[in-house]
Amino acid sequence: MSKEVLLSIENLHSSVEGKPILKGINLEVNRGEVHAIMGPNGSGKSTLSNVLMGHPKYEVTKGRILLKGKDVKDLSVDERAREGLFLAFQYPLSIPGVPVSKFLRMSLQATHGKDIPIMEFQKKLKEQSELLEIKDSFLGRYLNEGFSGGEKKRNEILQLVLLEPEMAVLDETDSGLDIDALKIVAKGIEATRNEKRGILLITHYQRLLNYVQPDYVHVLADGRIIKSGEKDLAIQLEAKGYDWVLKEANLLTAKT
């Protein structure tokens, strides 16, 4: 089966308020692949996910991002989403007065481009909520308002399973979760895994990767990918930390 490139990041440089954060990222995610990106704090992990999605604060100074072969440079945030890109936020925002169910329905309509009949929507919602152990009452609450960390993350994954994007970027979905919540989130991610979808998992800890086994692991440090490998790279990092990799890349300065 030939591999089809879903997401191609070419020599990507990005700055925030004039300060360079990403200094030349090269990465290719093919359909059906799960890539994990790990790295110490301040390596640029969140910047990467924000730049991919098109946050206006992040300027692309060099390089490009191709989604299904298309340069996303001139695509607005919502256009990228409609092209099949999804971002699970590390810190999901709360939108007062907007019920979760309404938000989900609008998102589904926006990304699928057509009106979803209410019955069909309710059915889908029920199935996926059960998978993620989300109670009915949750859906009537206002979006992310007063949600615990775990609830916010599960809500992000609920959106992932409902919206069925082609390219999913999950930004530290595992941070702040206890082991039970982590398992549920992992179950959700695994349920979306198939040969059409590409998944980019940005994680801080290796834990999640026990449940969602990646095809490739990359280490991000100082705005660049300094090492790539397969899933055992993650296990090594868990055991030994980042120092040895940073040393290899001559990045072991006072900065870390």
Binding site: V77, D78, L93, V98, S107, A110, Y142
Partner: protein, 469 residues
């Protein structure tokens, strides 16, 4: 109900297109004793009402303009240059063809039914869905509920009207109360007998053959012990009028154990000064709820209030104000705790965009002797851009140590991050803005009857579109 010789209809107005209204009675501009005499005679009013009007005119002429509020705009009001009372002839009819396209388009976008469009555009003098209302009226009659236009009530139920008219808002209260008392016309009178629950919300346009959305409406609602009623006035669709001054007075009396909910949504055209005095007396264990939506007008000054006169009385004001370019919504509430163990809640939500200005002006007073009271105020302002403005002038005058008072005020803008989050789900920017604004006024929308909620949501979405486009 007594029939009239000529139909009382919507006031004379100009959109800037040709106008061939022949008027039976057009005494010229300005407010004079002569006008009041002629008006009272046309209406065939009892003498006491004419005397009341004349007295109020004297008060009006003596009273100074308010020295607070948007004095700049208020200063532009030219009292001499207003028609205070006009009765168009039977043949009043603007032609639908003459109604500006912009107006027609808005009706289209809001999905306003055909019959309503003509009424709102002033093409016909009254609402044309008579059949429905006849059956509603029969039910009300059976219950002993009195609901008619104020003009008729003065003649048919003089004792009842006399007992309460001007007692909640005396003519001396403020300049615009005296103006209204002198020159009022139209408005609703409702009396609900003891222990009667009025099932459906009563609405202004149920009053067939009477003036609707007039300049100087006078409304009086009395709920007798243990009864309750919900009254709705105004509408979300933009209402076009050339009458630049609207000054209504609304008096509510909730006798012990009764409840009144009064919902208003006003969307006057941008040339209108909307200066309204609304006040309720809530007696023992009674409740009054003002649901107040301010969307239109050039300047609105309106502070619905509840005087909590008996133990256990409850007052609530839930208000939203939306100010776009060139608008100033100066709204708020007043709660006077004049008895122990009374409670009040004020929730004010305002949105400003495009240089619009909203103000919250509120008073909570707990009188000496009113022990064990609870009052809560929350005012939230949402600024949609850098040009817009919001001000808060809350006053707390608390004279009892055991009063529980809460006050919270927030100002926010539609955050870049919130927009990013919604747009990352494929939602277009203006729709995302709309969702956020919608969420902001959700506590208000929740309290409206379904069709109003739908209309208001649609209207706000339209406004948001305008904001971006």
């Amino acid at each position: 109900m007594a029939t009239k010789k000529a139909r009382l209809g919507k006031k004379d107005y100009k959109y800037g297109f040709h106008d061939d209204v022949k008027n039976v009675f057009k005494p010229g501009k300005g407010l004079t004793k002569k006008l009041l005499n002629e008006m009272s005679e046309m209406k065939q009013e009892p003498k006491w009402m004419l005397e009341n009007r004349l007295k109020a005119l004297d008060v009006f002429l003596q009273k100074p303009m308010p020295t607070w509020g948007n004095t700049q705009l208020l200063g532009q009001l030219d009292f001499e240059n207003i028609f205070y009372y006009v009765r168009p002839t039977e043949k009043t009819e603007k032609r639908w063809e003459d109604v500006p396209d912009k107006v027609k388009n808005t009706f289209d976008r809001l999905g306003i039914p055909e019959a309503e469009r003509r009424f709102l555009a002033g093409v016909t003098a009254q609402y044309e869905s008579e059949v429905v209302y006849h059956s509603i009226r029969k039910d009300l009659e059976k219950q002993g509920v009195i609901f008619l236009g104020m003009d008729d009530a003065v003649k048919q139920f003089p004792d009842l009207v006399k007992q309460y008219f001007g007692t909640i808002i005396p003519m001396e209260d403020n300049k615009f109360a005296s103006l209204n008392t002198a020159v009022w016309s139209g408005g609703s009178f409702i009396y609900v007998p003891k222990n009667t629950h009025v099932e459906i919300p009563l609405q202004a346009y149920f009053r067939i053959n009477s003036e609707n959305m007039g300049q100087f409406e006078r409304t009086l609602i009395i709920t007798d012990e243990g009864s309750d009623v919900h009254y709705i006035e105004g509408c979300t669709a933009p209402t076009y009028t050339s009458n630049s001054l609207h000054s209504a007075v609304v008096e509510l009396v909730a006798l012990p154990g009764s409840k009144i909910r009064y919902t208003t949504i006003q969307n006057w055209s941008n040339n209108v000064y909307n200066l309204v005095t609304k006040r309720a007396m809530a007696y023992q264990d009674a409740a009054v709820e003002w649901i107040d939506g301010n969307i239109g007008s050039k300047l609105t000054m309106k502070y619905p209030s509840v005087y909590l006169m008996g133990k256990g009385a409850r007052g609530e004001v839930l208000s939203i104000a939306y100010a776009g370019r060139g608008q100033h919504q100066d709204a708020g509430a007043k709660m006077i705790h004049a008895a122990p163990h009374t409670t009040s809640t004020i929730l004010s939500k305002s949105i400003s965009r495009d240089g619009g200005r909203t103000s919250y002006r509120g008073l909570v007073r707990v009188n000496k002797g009113a022990s064990g009271c609870k009052a809560n105020v929350r005012c939230d302002a949402l600024l949609l851009d850098e040009d817009s403005r919001s001000d808060t002038y809350p006053t707390m005058d608390i004279n009892e140590k055991d009063a529980t008072i809460g006050h919270e005020a927030t100002v926010s803008k539609v955050g870049e991050e919130q927009l990013f989050y919604l747009m990352s789900r494929g939602i277009k920017e203006n729709e995302a803005q709309s969702m956020i604004v919608n969420g902001f006024i959700e506590p208000f929308i929740k309290e409206l009857p379904m069709e109003y909620a739908v209309e208001l949501n649609r209207l706000m979405a339209l406004e948001m579109e305008g904001a971006i486009g």
